[in-house]
Amino acid sequence: MNPITRRKLARFRSIRRGYWSFIVLMAIIVASAFAELWINQRALVVYYEGEFYFPTYGSEHTGQTFGEEYRYEANYRALKEEFAAPGNPNWVIMPLVPYSPDESIYQEGSYPPYPPSFEREHYLGTDPLGRDILARLVYGFRIALGFSLALMTCTYLLAIVIGCAMGYFGSWIDLIGQRLMEIWSNIPFLYVVIILASTIPPNVGPGTRIGGLLLVMVIFNWVGMANYMRTASYREKSRDYIAAARVIGTGPTRIIFRHLLPNTLSIVITFIPFTVATGITSLTALDFLGFGIPPPTPSWGELLQQGTQRLDAPWIVTSTFFGMVTVLILVTFVGEAFREAFDPKKFSFYR
């Protein structure tokens, strides 16, 4: 690792708020990546007739595996109660939250949404369809984060290619690009996404739908970053080291990849946290309006929408709000620390 990068990292570690936010955020991301281990309708461990089963990952076990009548997937919560009877040697260990995000649970004698209850292990309550909110929050976060990261990667790739070409080659590429960018940045992004998203036929699979959404969002998201890259490459291009490289006969490809990009990309890192946060909020806004990822996929936007429909169930909005805001605040703190650590400018004034 080069010493400048090492110094920047050391500086990042010295900004305590950002550093701790980074650690907590990473912990949340890892925890959500392994959400199946702690939020799942499948048991963690089943001990049945002298054998151990680990049903969390992999193919499902039917009820018959555990001596039940039915052929569909075993109901581990029921099994646990059954095995708990005195004298039964078998046992089941359920995850912390024994529900999957898509499971509708109806309690006898009342209709959902049900308020939070430790006894029933619905720690944040359920939504109007009887699905566990904590489970939907965590799985929804995982999907939103994945989407946002994919969006960021595609947007940055496109923006860096366009911005670099405009800044480095200049002339007519730059001229056309600038006009295009001016037009593009004046088109209200949510409007177009809503028009386009509402025309994706409802019968296509969720994969195609998410892909289409991603494509539309990339097409309307690259302008800001491209503008930055254009200015940065334009500035670097006029530096002596690029001129020197050109004088000794280096081709444009080599100049761009060996000299230009390494010197412009370092600042791009400082944009990443903010781009991820924006991605998550735009997806949530689209989901909230019903144009995002189709149900029953868990999403924060859907939860917010349910919450504003059911004002009598404040736990829906409250959990979503605090879940979302915690993540966004952590991301912002990390982003701010990144910016401070990687920004070459330092401030000083002698008082």
């Binding site: 409007y191 949530t284 909230f288 966004l328 605040i329």
Partner: protein, 337 residues
């Protein structure tokens, strides 16, 4: 300089044409347009009686063509766009497909609502953010700075509409401190003047909080960073060296220079007349510009969509130019040539 700004103003026109052309083309090529919408409504009205013709729609053969020509969908898209452009050039934005009302009237009806929220948000944000930014810059890396930073970043991280949902549930529904929505009460006209003022304020507290929260961080940090930049400038060292007190050197030199980026934002205030987040307006059911645009989109009321797009783009583009003019006015170093 005059030539430069004239050129910029003229360049607004091609950009506007580009923006409207893209959106117009999108509305043209996508399924589910006004003709289909009208057909669907016709189908629902016909109910069971609809004859199952070969097309599967209960309409006489000539009717689809009739609908298409009514909505102008029988012409090729470039002709239709040229027609629309010509109409706009004469100051007519067309009629809403759905309500048969001139689009101009629909937009003008919403301008007071947008201007009300926009203006108050604008004034409140500036009157809090500029002093706070100055304070934070002078107290950089002190306890005051870090505490206000946490507040500011927290505000920045919370999207306005998410906060709106929370405020609606707690302060409007559970505690009943504020009404759950609307711009004013339905019986607004019957209230006395003081009653009207109270009613308006009650309705606008929650939306205003949501509108302000996002801008707040941006402006405060802009002010802070720009002042910090100037505090580290060479002329500040000179000012201190020649014996000026810190207070005087900040007020007389650094502050004046650091207000330049703030001035650049003033031009964009032009947009407040048509602004309005449709997410916030939807949650608080305020019938403003944002909600108008959103419902028009959902109902495929394209003349309204195009009208709002055109007007907001004009204000945005002209606002940008005004911003640049302001920069040139306050900063003699800036030369646009």
């Amino acid at each position: 300089m005059k030539v430069y700004f004239l050129k910029r103003l003229l360049l607004v026109i091609p950009t506007l044409i580009g923006v409207t052309l893209v959106v117009f083309a999108i509305t043209r090529f996508l399924p589910g347009g006004p003709v289909e919408q009208a057909l669907m409504q016709g189908q629902m009205a016909d109910g069971q009686e609809s004859r199952s013709s070969s097309e599967g729609i209960g309409l006489a053969p000539g009717q689809i063509e009739q609908l298409e020509s009514y909505y102008g969908f029988d012409k090729p898209w470039y002709r239709a766009y040229a027609d629309w452009l010509l109409q706009v050039a004469q100051g007519d934005l067309g009629k809403s497909y759905r309500y048969q009302v001139p689009v101009t009237t629909m937009i003008l009806d919403r301008v007071p609502i947008s201007a009300y929220y926009g203006l108050i948000t604008f004034v409140l944000t500036y009157s809090v953010c500029v002093p706070l930014g100055i304070l934070k810059a002078i107290q950089h890396r002190t306890r005051l700075d870090s505490v206000t930073s946490i507040v500011v970043f927290t505000g920045y991280a919370i999207p306005g509409y998410v906060l709106a949902a929370l405020l609606l549930v707690f302060f409007a529904f559970q505690l009943e401190w504020f009404p759950t929505g609307g711009f004013v009460s339905p019986d607004f006209a019957d209230l006395s003047f003081s009653g009207q003022v109270v009613d308006l304020i009650q309705h606008s507290v929650l939306p205003l909080v949501c509108y302000m929260i996002g801008n707040f961080a941006f402006l405060t940090l802009l002010m802070k960073n720009s002042l910090i930049d100037n505090l580290a400038a060479d002329y500040m060292r000179t000012a201190t060296a020649k014996g000026l007190s810190f207070r005087r050197s900040v007020l007389n030199h650094a502050l004046r220079n650091s207000l330049i980026p703030i001035a650049t934002n003033f031009g964009n205030a032009l947009s407040i007349f048509v602004a309005g987040s449709f997410l916030i307006e939807k949650i608080f059911s305020i019938d403003g510009m944002g909600l108008l645009g959103y419902t028009a989109l959902i109902q495929r009321d394209y003349p309204v969509v195009m009208g709002i797009l055109l007007i907001s783009s004009i204000l945005l583009l002209v606002g940008n130019i005004i911003s640049d003019m302001l920069v040139a006015a306050v900063d003699p170093r800036v030369r646009f040539d």
